[in-house]
C-alpha cells in the first residue's frame, strides 16, 4: 500500500512538473527575446543567455526607426481597423437575414459561409493572385481588404447568426409596429444587442488581419504597402545581422497582440469556445 502511495505521489509530482515545464516553455522564448533585445550585439554574441546588466533600449528605438518599419506597422494597423469595421457590418447583415427570414437561397448562403470554416484558405493563394493579376488589382492600398474580409467572415457570420437567433423576434415585431425600417432595426436595435458577440468579432478579425502572412506576401510587392508580417520577415536580410535589434523588431511586431491578449484574454478564449461549440 505504501509503495503504491509513493508511486502515486511520484506520478502526481511528475505530471505537475511536466505541465509547469510546458507552461514555462510558452513564455520563456518571449522573455529570452526581451532580455536579448536589451543587449548590444556584442554582449549578445558573447553570451546569449546572460541577464542584461545595463538595459540597452536603443535597439527598440532603432527597430522602430529602421527604414519602412513604422510604415508597415501602420499599414497593418489600418488594414486591421478596416477589417474590423467591415467584418462587423457584414457579419451583422448576413447573420441577421440568415437567422430571421426564410428567403430563397438562404440555405445556400448559409452553407457558403460555413464552408469557409473547412476550406483551407491557403489553397486559394495562387488562384486569388492570378485573379487579382488578371483584374489589375495587385499592389493597391486596398488590395488586401477583400481577402482579409472574406477570411474573417465565416467565423463572424456563424457567431452573429447564432447569437441573433437568441434575440426574441417580438422585438422586431414591436419595432416594425412603431414604424421602424429594416435599416433602423438593424442599426438601432439588433446591433446594440449584439455587443458581447461584437467584442469577440472585433478582437478576432483584428488579429486575423494583423497576423496574416501569405496573402500579403503574394498580393503586395510595393515596399510602401507591405504589412508588418512581411516587414519582420525581410528585416534580417535588409539590415546587417544584428540579433538584438532583430528581436526588438519581432517584439514590437507582436506588441499590439500582446496588449490585446493581456486585456481581453477572457473574451478571446470564450469567443473561441463559443465559435467552435456552436459550429
Amino acid at each position: 500500500m505504501t509503495i503504491k502511495n509513493t508511486l502515486q505521489g511520484m506520478f502526481k509530482f511528475v505530471v505537475n512538473a511536466v505541465l509547469l515545464l510546458f507552461s514555462a516553455s510558452c513564455i520563456f522564448p518571449i522573455l529570452w527575446m526581451v532580455n536579448s533585445a536589451l543587449k548590444t550585439s556584442n554582449e549578445f554574441m558573447q553570451n546569449s543567455m546572460s541577464l542584461t546588466t545595463h538595459p540597452y533600449f536603443q535597439n527598440f528605438i532603432d527597430a522602430v526607426q529602421s527604414s519602412g518599419f513604422l510604415e508597415c506597422f501602420l499599414n497593418s494597423a489600418i488594414l486591421g481597423f478596416i477589417n474590423v469595421v467591415l467584418t462587423v457590418i457584414c457579419a451583422l447583415v448576413a447573420g441577421f437575414f440568415i437567422s430571421r427570414y426564410n428567403f430563397r437561397f438562404k440555405k445556400a448562403v448559409y452553407l457558403l459561409f460555413v464552408s469557409g470554416m473547412v476550406i483551407p484558405m491557403l489553397s486559394l493563394l495562387i488562384p486569388v493572385f492570378l485573379q487579382f493579376k488578371a483584374l489589375g488589382m495587385l499592389d493597391h492600398r486596398w488590395t488586401l481588404i477583400l481577402p482579409y474580409l472574406a477570411f474573417s467572415l465565416p467565423f463572424a457570420v456563424m457567431l452573429t447568426e447564432n447569437y441573433i437567433r437568441t434575440i426574441p423576434v417580438e422585438l422586431d415585431e414591436a419595432a416594425y409596429m412603431e414604424g421602424c425600417s429594416t435599416f433602423k432595426l438593424l442599426t438601432k436595435i439588433i446591433f446594440p444587442m449584439c455587443s458581447p458577440i461584437t467584442a469577440i468579432i472585433v478582437i478576432t478579425s483584428f488579429m486575423n488581419a494583423w497576423n496574416e502572412f501569405p496573402f500579403s506576401l503574394v498580393l503586395i510587392n510595393d515596399k510602401s504597402l507591405r504589412t508588418i508580417s512581411i516587414a519582420i520577415r525581410m528585416f534580417n536580410s535588409e539590415h546587417a545581422i544584428n540579433y538584438p535589434l532583430y528581436m526588438a523588431a519581432l517584439l514590437v511586431s507582436i506588441l499590439p497582440i500582446l496588449i490585446i491578449y493581456l486585456i481581453f484574454s477572457k473574451q478571446i478564449m470564450k469567443g473561441m469556445t463559443v465559435g467552435a461549440v456552436k459550429g
Binding site: 510558452c26 488562384p127 493579376k133 501569405p214 490585446i260 467552435a276
Partner: protein, 322 residues
C-alpha cells in the same frame, strides 16, 4: 392585414424564425420579411465579397490550368497536359507525402497532447490550472511568422536556447543542425507548430469539460469513479463531440502550415520540408509556371476538400450540424 400579422407572429413563436430548424415543416413566410429585393441588396455585399475571394478565383485557376503560361502575355492551350505532368512530378508527390506526415503529426501532437493535458486538469491534485490555461494559450495568438522566426532563433546553432540547454545539461551529443539536417528537418518544423497550438485545443477541450454538470462528477466520485476511471467513463464520453470538432479544425488547419515552414526553411534543405502549399508557391513565383501552378492549386483544393469532408462524414458530420 394587421390581424394576419398577429396570427403569423404567434406561429413564429411556436416555430421560431430559425428557418433551418424548421426544415420539413410547411413553408411559412415571416410576415415581417422585407421584399426579396431588399434582402438581396443587403446580402449582396457580404456574399459578393465571399464569392469574389473564394469561388471566382477557383474558376480562374481552373481555366488557367489548361494553359502553358509563364505569367506574361503569351498563353498556349495544352489541354490536360498540366494535370498529366502533375501525376509524374516527383516533387509534387514528395510534398504530398510531407503534407500528410505533417497532418498526422499535427493531429496527434496538438489534439493528442491537449487532450491528455485536459484530462490532467480535471484532477484535483494538479496545481495552477487557470494559470496554465492562460499561459499555454498565449502562443496561439501570435503570428505564425513570428513563431517561425522565433524558433529559428531557438534552433540557432551558435546561440539558440535549445542547444544552450543541451550543453548545460551535458547532452552535447544531441546537438544537431536542427533545420539543416534533411533527416530531422520535417520534425524540427513540426515541433513549433505543435507547440504553438496545444493551448488552442486545450482551451476548447477545457471549455467542454466546464459544461459537464458538477453533480455528475460528484455522483461519479461517490460511486467510486475517481482519477482515471472518471476520465474514462465520464469525462471522455461527455467531451467526445468537442474532441471531434477539434480533430476537424486541426485537420483543416494543418494544410495551412505555410507560414511557419516558409520562414523557417523555405521548404529546404533541398526539398525535405516542402509541403503542398509551399511547392505551389514555388512553382508559381520561383519557376513562373502559372498554368502548372493553377492545375496544382485545383488539385490541392479538391484533395483537401475531399479529405476534410470525408473525415467529417466519418465522424458523423458534426461540424455542419445545426
Amino acid at each position: 392585414m394587421r390581424k394576419d400579422r398577429q396570427t403569423q407572429g404567434a406561429y413564429d413563436r411556436i416555430c421560431p424564425a430559425g428557418g433551418l430548424a424548421s426544415k420539413g415543416r410547411p413553408k411559412y413566410k415571416n410576415p415581417l420579411m422585407p421584399p426579396g429585393r431588399r434582402i438581396f441588396g443587403y446580402l449582396s455585399i457580404p456574399v459578393g465579397v465571399y464569392l469574389f475571394i473564394v469561388v471566382v478565383p477557383t474558376l480562374f485557376a481552373f481555366g488557367y490550368s489548361f494553359f502553358e503560361w509563364s505569367g506574361g502575355p503569351g498563353k498556349k492551350f495544352i489541354g490536360l497536359d498540366n494535370y498529366i505532368q502533375l501525376l509524374h512530378d516527383k516533387t509534387f508527390w514528395l510534398s504530398f507525402k510531407n503534407t500528410m506526415l505533417f497532418t498526422v503529426l499535427m493531429v496527434a501532437g496538438q489534439v493528442g497532447i491537449a487532450f491528455i493535458f485536459t484530462l490532467f486538469f480535471t484532477m484535483k491534485w494538479v496545481k495552477f490550472v487557470e494559470l496554465h490555461r492562460r499561459v499555454m494559450y498565449f502562443p496561439s495568438i501570435i503570428a505564425a511568422v513570428v513563431i517561425g522566426l522565433m524558433w529559428q532563433l531557438i534552433y540557432n546553432n551558435d546561440f539558440g536556447i535549445l542547444n544552450h540547454f543541451l550543453r548545460a545539461s551535458g547532452l552535447d551529443g544531441w546537438i544537431k543542425p536542427w533545420l539543416d539536417d534533411p533527416k530531422i528537418a520535417m520534425l524540427s518544423v513540426a515541433v513549433p507548430v505543435i507547440w504553438q497550438f496545444i493551448g488552442y485545443y486545450l482551451v476548447l477541450l477545457m471549455g467542454a469539460v466546464a459544461t459537464i454538470p458538477k453533480d455528475i462528477l460528484e455522483v461519479a466520485e461517490i460511486d467510486g469513479a475517481t482519477g482515471f476511471k472518471r476520465s474514462l467513463y465520464i469525462t471522455i464520453p461527455l467531451i467526445w463531440d468537442i474532441l471531434k470538432i477539434c480533430l476537424m479544425i486541426c485537420f483543416a488547419g494543418s494544410f495551412k502550415a505555410f507560414d511557419h515552414i516558409m520562414v523557417m526553411t523555405g521548404g529546404g534543405p533541398g526539398r525535405a520540408t516542402s509541403v503542398l502549399s509551399l511547392y505551389n508557391y514555388d512553382t508559381s513565383f520561383v519557376q513562373m509556371k502559372m498554368g502548372y501552378a493553377s492545375a496544382m492549386a485545383v488539385v490541392i483544393l479538391v484533395v483537401s476538400m475531399t479529405l476534410t469532408i470525408g473525415i467529417q462524414r466519418l465522424m458523423e458530420g458534426k461540424a455542419n450540424d445545426h
